[in-house]
């Protein structure tokens, strides 16, 4: 068992509404640094909403209202003085469906660094190589960096999205069911990558695949109907869940 780690992200009484619909109810939880935290729970329990709240991506959705606090390194994410671009740069995002930008493989990776003001060609090329290496895509694409990203296979596209997220040097990677659109082999590669990446990054992964959470997670957050039911080390939540709902979910009584 690993020692307890200081949380890098804390939420306090986080509530999210879509119009009248109350989707996240008073969630107070900490995300440990440089660990993989899995957010689990049945469909529609607010997992993705929780994830997208962390880097304020949720604000792009129409009619959404957020209350409560999110602290990143003790900084209030919703503070008007904080630059939302900074928060998003620090928390990379990997979507459910691979979503390459409408540009070349190379430009997909450099897009982030470029908008944040980097224009040194050599440095950009270095970032492209190292990030594609980290996403174990480099060998497959190094000879065709200028081809459109949309020509890659879906599995490759998702690794490209990972490389793109890494290119802006985030501290946290938010992954929203990153393997659900992929074939089993591509999914396995993403899982291996995430395990590797936790040495340097804090990974938060939303998944409705219980086995995936068991394979990957150090820390588990179980949400049910928008409420935080239980959270703690993976060992504790999976082996000795305190709550009866968690027990039932972990045993697979419902999913």
């Amino acid at each position: 068992m690993k020692e307890a780690v200081e949380p890098i992200i804390n939420t306090e009484g986080l509530n999210v509404f879509y119009g009248e619909q109350h989707v996240l109810k008073d969630v107070t939880v900490g995300i440990p640094e440089k660990r993989i935290t899995a957010i689990i729970g049945p469909s529609g329990c607010g997992k993705s909403t929780f994830l997208k709240s962390l880097n304020r991506l949720i604000e792009l959705t129409d009619g959404v209202k957020v209350s409560g606090k999110i602290y990143f390194h003790g900084l209030d994410v919703f503070d008007g003085k904080i630059d939302v671009m900074y928060i998003r740069k620090k928390m990379g995002f990997l979507a459910q469906k691979p979503c390459p930008l409408p540009m070349s493989i190379y430009d997909n990776v450099t897009y982030g660094p470029r908008i944040h003001g980097l224009d040194d060609k050599k440095e950009l090329a270095g970032i492209v190589e190292s990030c594609l290496q980290s996403a174990s895509l480099w060998d497959e694409v190094k000879d065709r960096l200028k081809t459109p990203a949309s020509r890659l296979s879906v599995g490759q596209q998702q690794r490209l999205c990972l490389a793109r997220a890494l290119a802006v040097a985030p501290e946290v990677l938010l992954c929203d069911e990153p393997t659900s659109a992929l074939d089993p082999i591509s999914a396995q590669r993403i899982e291996e990558l995430l395990i590797n990446l936790k040495k340097n990054y804090t990974v938060v992964i939303v998944t409705h695949v219980l086995r995936q959470a068991m394979r990957l997670a150090d820390h588990v957050v179980f949400l049910y109907l928008g409420k935080l039911i239980e959270h703690g080390s993976a060992e504790k939540v999976f082996r000795n869940p305190e709550n009866t709902v968690t027990q039932a979910y972990v045993k697979g009584v419902f999913s």
Partner: protein, 282 residues
């Protein structure tokens, strides 16, 4: 045959018939114009401006109107595009589903429906007020004005089709709305934006009413913005209005030229669109 299969066959036949009627009438228009214009179509028609007595059946061509139309509508389309793209991006990326955006869209839809003669009269009034004569610039601005609602609304619709995930991907990297709009939205919606340009150009070059008072007509190719400019639709109108069959034939020939311009532009832009959109994510 059982009832459902009969139903299927009947409606399929009905749809096919409708399609054929549409295609047939379009073809009929083209054939009629081409057949009637054939005797008058010649190279000199495309390369010469009207000589003395042209409208009585003597020598010359309609180069004045071809050049005038291309200058005028080309300029108008560029001007309209420069104004429409920011408007469409603003409506889509910033105003979104606000009440203001809803009213703006309604207003643009109404403007789209306003007859072009109204734009012509409006342009003419403004020009009188400013002391301008019928001129290339007058027609250009008027046509741009009437192309803008078309362009904005079409671009607005195609920008709306850009998936939210794609915008999210850009925002998640910490980009601003402007960066997302220019780098992601416009790139992804490029084929649709080209369509908007083409549609507006087609409407502009085919319109007679908006340029009648504002651009005037001239037998010469305009050499400055303040010169009056001939346009193809007016060339068709004036030649068709003469009592001479050979001049009327030239009206059909002018119409054929107009059609060829729009057609070749449309094909050219399809080719261009394929080249420009290799990065579009499908």
């Amino acid at each position: 045959m059982d009832k459902r299969k009969l139903e299927e066959a009947f409606f399929k036949a009905l749809m096919l018939a409708s399609t054929l009627i549409v295609l047939g009438s379009l073809l009929a228009v083209i054939v009629a114009v081409v057949v009637r214009s054939a005797p008058a179509l010649s190279l000199s028609m495309l390369t010469q401006t009207p000589k003395g007595g042209y409208y009585l059946g003597k020598e010359g061509g309609i180069l004045n109107a071809i050049a005038g139309s291309l200058y005028l509508v080309g300029g108008a389309t560029v001007l309209a595009f420069a104004i429409s793209l920011p408007v469409a991006l603003y409506l889509e990326e910033y105003a979104g589903r606000s009440r203001f955006a809803a009213y703006a869209r309604l207003f643009l839809d109404v403007s789209w429906g306003v007859p072009s003669i109204v734009y012509g009269v409006f342009g003419f009034t403004i020009m009188l007020y400013l002391g301008l004569k019928a001129s290339l610039i007058g027609g250009l601005v008027t046509v741009a004005l009437f192309e803008i609602p078309i362009m904005v609304r079409v671009m607005d619709e195609v920008l709306r089709m850009v998936p939210l995930e794609l915008r999210e991907a850009s925002y998640a990297l910490g980009s601003t709305r402007l960066e997302t709009a220019i780098n992601v939205m416009v790139k992804q919606a490029l084929p649709g934006i080209l369509t908007a340009l083409l549609l507006a150009f087609g409407r502009g070059i085919g319109d007679a009413a908006s340029v009648l008072f504002t651009a005037g007509y001239s037998d010469y190719i305009p050499t400055s913005f303040s010169d009056p400019a001939a346009t193809l639709p007016l060339a068709v109108l004036f030649q068709l209005g003469t009592p001479f069959p050979e001049v009327q034939m030239r009206a059909y020939a002018s119409a054929a030229v107009l059609m060829i311009i729009v057609l070749s532009l449309s094909m050219g832009s399809r080719f261009l669109s394929r080249r420009l959109t290799r990065y579009v994510v499908r």
